[in-house]
Assembly symmetry: C2
Homo-oligomer: 209 residues x 2
């Protein structure tokens, strides 16, 4: 059938499958999304599709790997763009406003996938949970840099939790004003933490005199 | 076939179907749960089952009606048992500790069903969201009784949001200590609100930490 030959000459196909699955899992859920849904979106024949992925679980693993890589890139960009750890944390809160349309329609991609896979008792639930851990570890590092020491992990979990709650209710009530009000509360909370830690004026390592 | 005769003599069957579906929708999700799953749990023949419900969506409507009734009973009980509005609000926070096992395994039943039905763009998403509104309206009434006036709805949404975030992360990380720590933070926040509201508070500490 020459499938091998055809596909090795088409390098972007696997990526297109994973991108399509990523969007469908987010928009309509993992369980609801069928192999056929994904193949239809990418407009692939079954043969072409099966060359890349044999099961929906294989696609899920690839989607989680893609999301983990994107999350790391985003966290790295926040770290590099912000002058202080407190400013980095505001990037995290700002994400809720930047993604407000998707959040209102589909909730948080991390939280909703985790919740669904946990209910399904799916083997990939740990992998999906690792994306939460990426955020948690990065948030903890910012609070540590602000001087919060042993409190840092609890503060990271608190902020992650606040963001999850905001996404859940913004999704249920489709309420953008609610998102903005809650992000203002987070900013005020972060400002109070920065002022009590004494680290608000401490610049990051780069360009130190 | 005498199905009518048989079933009218068996008054608990419909309730048993709805109870079983309620648990299965919570534990494994709505989309994942099949008609057959529910019938197997209740150990009913297809004929018996179809007498009561023709579609899974009909069962979902009945489950949402059941959950709404239970929610109202719980809220009424909190209102009646607590001496002050602040004490009522602590009942809400305490719910997270009382339900900590289920929350760690399956998340919040209200939030996870809402999120799933929104992704499915299911006609019942509004009904599921009404259960959030029951909590929101009750919480708002407590804050109003504490004297928070026009702030009351925002405070209600904030507290509801905090509870959703706690449930989401407790589910992802299976972390009971996190739940208890966050509930302590909510209690401290409620205490600070009670003292600033100017309302006379006579808290009766029936739930020691």
């Amino acid at each position: 059938m020459g499938i091998m030959t055809k596909l090795t000459a088409e390098p972007g196909t696997r990526d297109r499958i994973v991108e399509a699955a990523d969007a469908l899992f987010y928009q309509q859920g993992f369980e609801k999304t069928s192999f056929a849904d994904i193949a239809d979106t990418v407009q692939l024949s079954r043969g072409n599709f099966y060359y890349h992925f044999k099961t929906k679980d294989d696609i899920l693993d690839a989607v989680i790997t893609l999301r983990a890589a994107r999350t790391q890139s985003m966290l790295d960009a926040w770290t590099q763009s912000a002058v202080t750890p407190a400013a980095s944390l505001r990037c995290f809160a700002e994400m809720l406003i930047q993604n407000r349309q998707e959040i209102q329609r589909y909730g948080c991609p991390v939280g909703t996938l985790c919740a669904e896979l946990t209910k399904l008792d799916h083997p990939a639930q740990g992998g999906a949970g690792m994306i939460f851990s990426q955020f948690r570890n990065w948030l903890r590092a910012q609070f540590e840099a602000m001087g919060h020491d042993r409190q840092s992990d609890a503060l990271a979990m608190h902020l992650l939790s606040r963001s999850q709650g905001i996404a859940a209710l913004a999704n249920a009530f489709h309420d953008e004003a609610f998102i903005r009000h809650e992000v203002d509360l987070i900013d005020a909370w972060l400002a109070s933490l920065a002022s009590t830690s004494g680290a608000v004026t401490r610049p990051r390592r780069k360009n130190s005199p």
